[in-house]
Symmetry: C2
Subunit: 713 residues, 2 copies
């Protein structure tokens, strides 16, 4: 069987709408030429208990109101579960029939019992019937034959479920057996929870397991995740799934309530829990995060000298273990070349002895500054006699740094975390996996030297970013380092963990009428051409109208840009002023990131400010003028993280600002803003030391009074 | 007709699952005794075009594969739209029938034409048939009789839709007419978008209008929001809805794709767009937010003296306009008493001359401190010759403060915003609406005096908080001031706007073996009993094991707590130590907020730290000991916003810390942490002043070098 899909819809339960949605997806799969089977369990389908009760209830209501309606009277008396199942079965089949008919898809009902699988002949018959039906483009709907199946014995039902219904557990194993029988490619078991969790989903900290290997069973608590529908807990699903996996069938356990679950799975996107044979060799991500927090605390309780020592050891290792690093790196590069990766990307990926040398010396600088990072007193207040308050710097907790390509990012970020005593989870790109592993080994060695081995962990490339972004209990701050797309996607996805960074850098340079035009030309050139891919490169040049209308500056700047190979676009105002001008800019909010920029004309500094407020991204904006008043007005009114007067936008950089290593550039309006040094990885804590002070003594008319005297620090 | 619901399901389109979900909800409404009609449009139902095409496609596929199947051959030849509609009609009705049968609900099919409404006799017949059916508990399914309805003329179809299908616009008006005819309570028009937007939903800044008054039409762009199903755009829905409204029927336009849309609406919760006769007298919320940003900027460009002057004027007005304020306040109190509000809540609500006096003097203090808030230089670095960098304080932007009960919060928060030059949106509770309005008038008067009238806006109580939380482009920081529930709910709901605050205050006091027991008794009493409802009150008392086993301290503390009326629970360790002890605590993470607390025994200070790390909320934790080393270890390892030694937890308060007015207490790990003063309403900005400096001059081998010399500020 080529691409069989087996679904059981019975537990997606209770909602007619959800059942219909599954029918729709199965029908569409069938129309697209996939071979499908559905397993459902007779009257249990979309919730035997609830539906039967509802049916009875609504019937009795209806009987009172319209007594002539006897069409379903017999159902009203049916309380014996197998009989109810048999009756439900026919109503269900006619519903399936009407639904599938909407798609022109035909059904066949197959009722089976456990005995049918034990007898070799019935088993063979069943298999050939199924094969025949599938080849005729008929969707077999397979149920347990509840009318002839013996009820489960009491001691047979360890979950202690409702005795009135057949054990749903049977259905999971039925689906697994059928899947193995027809050698299905995929078995989809639908439940009313999203998949297998690390502990009951209602419990704090429960996390969905995306990929489940049978050897993980011991890490997982199954208790309490029982389906509302009946007796089927998750244990029976895991058991059935494991069984199917052992018989060569891949399995997904997912939530049937989720929109388009089947199609999403068939499209290869991850939902639910995917069962695979691959052994899990790595620790669960929560454990890594808890270890990182624990390790971060250990770092914090070291002396600054010990932290600096570990960083310096890492700096040493980058040199002494150079050959190991470069060897691993060349494996990544070979792989990249094999994939036909473009040269600039390969360049970013590649490490060289000189890169390692400068990386090593950068790390020594971080070690140097780490002596005074933590426990720094920012504020000291004498609140009352013998009652003193201090505000001191402390680590944030656990950081998640997500980075692409550049493996040199790893030791740098690791050193920053060590310096600030934060726990750190590192998630690097697949393209640098060998290099990252080699570098991580050195980081671990450095950490081990001070007994904080697990403060920093490299997360397997297999872990999904979306999973990490949901771990708000474990991660305090996310720092994405990479393309704008990476940053934007993480900012959008993270709901409850703050993200430090900026998605866009639409930086402006405004040349005022009072500008020194020689300075202006140099600054414009540097801002655009020094490194056009940088976020602090100029994207829009704003010119005072007079500079466009009179004199040669406009031509000079255009010629200079042309010489540098910069493609120029005109903003709407500029276009109006020129008879023949550059092509119009598509938007004034574009970050080109290449040798390309927009030029716009503005009437005055107020116009420039207004343009920037409307179109800027709050990153870095520059004014070039010799008029102090104009400059002041610009610097004060432009509301960006960095505002510059007569200096290139390229100075917006942690290193150039003298912040030591740069964590990133933030355009957020709280916490660190602009280029962020290691202080962006710290928070504060209030420490109050008294001598038995109580607040009630300070109440109105009480014996004590507040002094609130600031003490210089 | 009592509680009629009219739905049209046809456009919720394309998905069988969604149609089924609507059937399910209608059936349940019917079973619950609501009178329902459904309007659907024959073959258009769940997407005429797509379904017909799909039917044909799947049939032809099927014919090739199983040529004996002729049961649906006739459908395969039907391309004429009205005929297709007629055929689709019967398939659709049998599907509806099978679906409704699952709930024991009976249907009747009614086909109507526009002419039926024009003729008085047919109209009367129709009405009596509908009434009769409804009284028999039958759900009428009403369609346009496509087989006899003339096709729309070309000039009849301004939207230029597909001519092969009947204009879906007719269906909107059909539903509206029927609703008016049977005097329905509610008409639900289902679409595939969430409701009416301020501009096309794909456009940046589009916002769903929750409540639509006909006079708002001019503020709204309808273009581009066409349903995918056919020609029905939103204009026709708005037209039909307005018509129904004019005929006394309330209307909701909602997304049929949304789970349980009908039930949610009938439960009175707001989804989609609700049409009401109430005239909209207030500005759209975006406009208020833009005004606030603009006004905040104006505040920022005032001199500190002017800002202080406006705050002082507000302080004056609180006294001079006292009678107006108290009059408004007594209206709120009368209302609260009428509703039987509990006394403590009424107390919070009520303003008195003495409250206003102390409020006024608090404002004067804020005015005092506002002289040095903004533009403060935090850092100054000489980067190179004539290149100087400053990091200065600036306002955050636009704040949203959501507060409950206490109207005194309004002038206080307003003064803080004025002092820090932030724009402010205030959302107060309904219970204080008269007081808030009166106070807001004074705030506006004060702002007007400096030309920044719209920097602060009071948002109508009608606006939903969820709407505000989605306005990330307009709001930079949210500060909830009220119950833990309020804060928690806002923290959970806000996805992209940071929230300053704390949901929980599970504060601990640890009494060490080396404690001065007299101090300990006083501090425990003050921490728990001074004001048990405060977030900084003690919830768990941790005792060194020795204090439980030996000596009289344990009994002393229990007796003291009993005298104060505190109910005590025992943690698991304490329970083990005692033969007869207090009732076991349900959880060690409980914030009681009343005269109630838990006591737990810990082996030593490390055990106390571990307990706090596991169970605390990171708010405030206290150690009582005379041993400096033990104290240091606690203060350093407990990772809470406030850690105290020998002082009551009640000191964790902005006023007591000497921060001036308190914005709130934050347990977040970035931005402000612990009690937050006005500095929590500010961010920073980097100002770089050069003299034509370009970065390329500083590159390796370039003519310039970085100095990076910190200049004391």
């Amino acid at each position: 069987m080529g691409s069989a899909v087996i679904t059981r819809a019975d537990e997606c339960g209770l909602a007619l709408g959800r059942l219909a949605s599954i029918v729709e997806q199965v029908a569409e799969c069938q129309i697209e030429g996939r071979e499908c089977l559905m397993v459902t369990s007779g009257a249990v389908a979309f919730g035997k208990q609830k539906l039967t009760q509802e049916l009875l209830m609504s019937l009795s209501m209806r009987e009172t109101l319209s007594p002539k309606d006897h069409t379903r009277d017999e159902a009203g008396t049916l309380l014996e579960p197998r009989a109810a199942a048999a009756v439900g079965q026919s109503g269900l089949m006619s519903l399936y029939d009407a639904m599938f008919a909407q798609y022109g898809v035909k059904l066949a009902q197959i009722l089976v019992t456990t005995a049918d699988f034990r007898n070799e002949e019935t088993r063979r018959n069943l298999f050939s019937t199924l094969t025949e039906l599938i080849s005729l483009n008929v969707v077999p709907i397979i149920n347990t034959n509840d009318a002839v199946t013996p009820p489960p014995k009491d001691d047979d039902d360890p979950l202690g479920g409702n005795k009135r219904v057949i054990r749903i557990k049977d259905n999971d194993s039925l689906a697994a057996r059928l899947a193995a029988e027809v050698q299905a490619d995929l078995l989809i078991l639908m439940s009313d929870v999203d998949g297998i969790y690390t502990c009951p989903p209602s419990q704090e900290g429960a996390r969905l397991i995306r990929t489940f290997a049978p050897d993980m069973s011991s890490h997982v608590e199954f208790g309490g995740i029982k389906s509302k529908v009946g007796t089927g807990g998750m244990d029976s699903k895991v058991e059935a799934a494991t069984w199917a996996l052992n018989h060569g069938v891949s399995v997904v356990i997912c939530n049937g309530m989720q929109d388009n679950a089947i199609k999403t799975i068939l499209d290869g996107r991850k939902i639910g829990t995917f069962f695979t044979e691959v052994k899990s060799s790595h620790l669960p991500i929560e454990t890594l995060a808890e270890n990182a927090r624990e390790g971060g605390r250990r770092l914090f309780h070291l002396s600054p000298e010990e932290r600096a020592g570990a960083i310096n050891l890492l700096a040493d290792l980058l040199i002494s273990k150079q050959s190991t690093i470069l060897e691993a790196n060349s494996a990544d590069i070979a792989e990249a070349n094999r994939r036909g990766t473009e040269k600039p990307l390969v360049d970013r990926l590649s490490l060289t002895p000189s890169k390692l040398k400068s990386l090593s010396s950068g790390l020594r600088q971080i070690a140097e500054t780490s002596h005074s990072n933590l426990g720094r007193v920012l504020k000291k207040t004498k609140i009352a006699d013998s009652l003193e308050l201090r505000q001191i710097t402390v680590p944030i907790g656990v950081l998640l740094v997500i980075f692409e390509s550049r493996p040199d990012c790893l030791p740098q970020v690791a050193a920053l975390a060590m310096s600030s005593a934060n726990g750190l989870l590192l998630k690097g790109g697949k393209e640098a996996s060998y290099s990252n592993k080699a570098l991580m080994n050195l980081v671990s060695e450095a950490l081990d030297s001070v007994g904080a081995g697990n403060a920093i962990n490299l997360i397997s490339t297999r872990e999904e970013i979306s999973e990490l972004l949901a771990m708000e209990r474990h991660i305090d701050l996310i720092i994405p380092r990479g393309s704008n797309e990476l940053v934007r996607s993480i900012q959008e996805q993270s709901q409850n963990i703050p993200v430090l960074g900026h998605a866009e850098g639409v930086c402006h340079v405004y040349v005022d009428r009072q500008a020194d035009l020689t300075k202006a030309l140099r600054i414009v050139r540097d801002s655009k051409c020094d490194y056009p891919a940088a976020c602090n490169a100029m994207e829009t040049l704003l010119l005072h109208e007079d500079l466009v209308k009179n004199g040669s500056f406009f031509l000079d700047v255009c010629n200079m840009l042309r010489r540098e190979g910069v493609i120029v676009h005109a903003g709407p105002n500029l276009s109006k002023l020129l008879t023949f001008g550059p092509t119009p800019a598509k938007s004034m909010k574009t970050e080109y990131g290449t040798l390309e920029c927009a030029i716009e004309s503005v009437p005055d500094v107020e116009g420039a400010i207004e343009h920037i407020l409307q179109n800027g991204s709050g990153h870095t904006d520059v004014i070039i003028t010799e008029d102090e008043t104009t400059a002041k007005s610009f610097l004060s009114q432009v509301d960006s993280a960095c505002v510059f007067h007569n200096a290139s936008s390229r100075f917006a950089d942690g290193y150039r600002f003298g912040l030591g290593a740069e964590v990133g550039i933030s355009t957020a309006r709280i916490h660190a803003r602009g280029p962020v040094g290691v202080e962006g990885l710290m928070t504060t804590k209030w420490v109050l030391v008294g001598n038995g002070h109580v607040a009630s003594d300070f109440a109105e008319g009480g014996p004590c009074q507040y002094i609130h005297q600031n003490i210089p620090v």
